[in-house]
């Protein structure tokens, strides 16, 4: 973990770079319930250069890892996997859109 004291010792460009790294990017995947409410089923977040997905549904997490998702903006479409990092994260919102499982846009915290 980066400490603020460490940041103070470095130059401004490096400080900015580290701060950018500290902003966590993530996507939430929501599952619809029978009454129409949604609950967070999984969270996929950037960890370093790769994406890590966590959630209670093992099959969903396993499928995201092993099957990946399609990037249809490319011709022919390409598969993206968590190892593809931000491209995978950004594409989730385009894949999970049926209403039954919807993915948020990339959020930051």
């Amino acid at each position: 973990m980066v400490r603020y004291q460490d940041l103070q010792k470095t130059n401004w460009f490096f400080k900015l770079f580290i701060l950018m790294k500290m902003i966590m990017k993530f996507v939430e995947i929501y599952k619809i319930q029978n009454d129409g409410t949604q609950r967070v089923m999984a969270v996929c977040k950037m960890v370093g250069e790769t994406v890590v997905c966590e959630g209670e549904d093992k099959a969903l997490i396993d499928n995201l890892k092993s099957e990946g998702i399609w990037d249809d903006s490319k011709t022919p479409p390409q598969k993206l996997f968590p190892k593809d990092g931000i491209r995978f994260l950004e594409r989730l919102n385009f894949v999970f859109t049926s209403g039954y499982l919807n993915a948020s846009q990339v959020k930051e915290e």
Partner: protein, 283 residues
Amino acid sequence: MKEFLKGLFEKKKQLPIPKKDQIQQQQIAVESSNSSEKKKKKFPFETPEEIILENHEKESNKPLNGGCNKTEFVEIKDDGSGIFKPKNGEDDCGRRNVKAGSYFRRERASYIIDKFLRFNLVPPTVIREIDGEIGSLQQFIPDAQTGFETSRSELILDKILCQQLIKLWIFDYIIYNSDRHQENFLVKLKEKKIYAIDHGLSFGNDYLKFYEEFFETPIPLEISDGIERFLSWKEGKELCEELLEELISPEEVKACMRRIERILKIIKNHGKIPRSAKNELVF
């Protein structure tokens, strides 16, 4: 006629193959309904679920979070619920060929094809206006998992579910669905039933992704029977084309009909889709 057609499309039942005279009766019935409603073609297989979706008052609607297209959960007064996808909430989601603003019509067109071919994969889907917005409203399937929440091997190993996946594979070719992935079908494991959803990107000429696993797999007779019955029912085919032309372009309708003929020919010749036929199946 209603009873006969209703019987043909009842859920969870293996559909009997109609005899020639039954088909003739059906044809006559469609002809007479055509003549009485020349202006707007009536969908002959309208189910009670469709009537409810189309006509019953909306109880409430909740916009759903996430997804690049707008989706809403709609509760129908006294009877069930649906997923509403308004035209104005459609986004091209990075696609090139199928234009946003036409997805809701393609959802309905896919349902019509499903009904005419008797595949029983697509939940009842209608076009209606909710709060001044037009869009597609599809019956909500409670307690369903998406394909992403199930293990693919579990589905393939189950004979009944696997046969439905093969049917889905053929269906996707017929409607030229460029957007089938694990999130776009639902599974009810206990009932051993698969539902096909999300057909907004069908009938266009986007790149078609074929699941490789079903090439060379024997095609269940039920599938070729449904297609053959449809093609041999001239008036039904014409009616289907007319209904589709209200939703998608005449070229897209023609292309769809050609694909139905082509796929049947291949199945009849080989009993399966040979891998070598892959190139002739894509644009």
